[in-house]
Symmetry: C2
Subunit: 147 residues, 2 copies
């Protein structure tokens, strides 16, 4: 039997979170953190609702997963996030020593890869998973905000 | 009369926060955020107590100051922090558009300046304020942890 727990499988859950953000008027980015094929944290961007620039989906997911694990290091965990992390979130991922980061759409302007933010040397990065779906959601969101 | 509200004046308050972190067994970093010579947020590193890599002094101060202001942008605010911010905290400061960042001791390994993390173009940076005091506290902390 084929393994159902692919990167796309979990990215779909992150996309559902992004959809929830969209419905709340938040920039639609969603994230889940997975260990042993089990989702232990799910979150979406809440910067507007919380009036807090630190309330990115990834930051909340890191805090939530650490809480679930009962320790601050996310070894053995994978983050799925619909958009490439920014400097802040990549910096938090560095400290978490997370094992794997999978993102959807690239952020050519503010993504950590262009800006050269360091992840932990042990962190594996996979990009482009359901990127079109994530990008479409962003385009649709910003189009809806235009007067 | 001389202006009492110097950078050193507020950095002393950040150092008091760092002392509190030390007493709790946390890496001793403290921060305050100031607007119009008034302290609106004070915090210290709580990564151990909260089991959360995102609980740096600066991150908590940014969230707290935004809560005080009722808006997520920290224009007109100054952050005083005893140690040079890391990638994560500098990335959060970027999003906050804070007007000024004053730090004490430099972090040659993990500080944002060496790692090239971008702050907002409008953010002014001052470094080295009471740097020796901040560095002494760190040295004393790590010495106390050695077996």
């Amino acid at each position: 039997m084929e393994n159902p727990f692919t990167d796309a499988y979990f990215m779909k859950k992150a996309l559902q979170e992004a959809e929830t953000a969209f419905e709340k008027g938040e920039i639609p980015v969603g994230a889940v953190i997975v260990i042993d094929n089990k989702v232990i944290a799910r979150s979406h961007n809440l910067t507007e609702m919380l009036n807090d620039v630190t309330a990115h989906a990834e930051m909340q997911a890191i805090t939530s997963a650490a809480n679930f694990i009962g320790g601050k290091y996310l070894k053995g965990c994978t983050l799925y996030v619909t958009l490439e992390p920014c400097q802040m979130c990549a910096g938090a991922l560095y400290w978490s020593q997370i094992s794997k980061v999978v993102f959807g759409a690239s952020d050519e302007q503010r993504g950590f890869q262009k800006l050269g933010t360091q992840l932990h040397p042990k962190t594996q990065v996979v990009k482009g998973v359901l990127a079109q779906e994530a990008a479409d959601l962003m385009v649709r969101f910003f189009a809806s905000k235009r007067p």
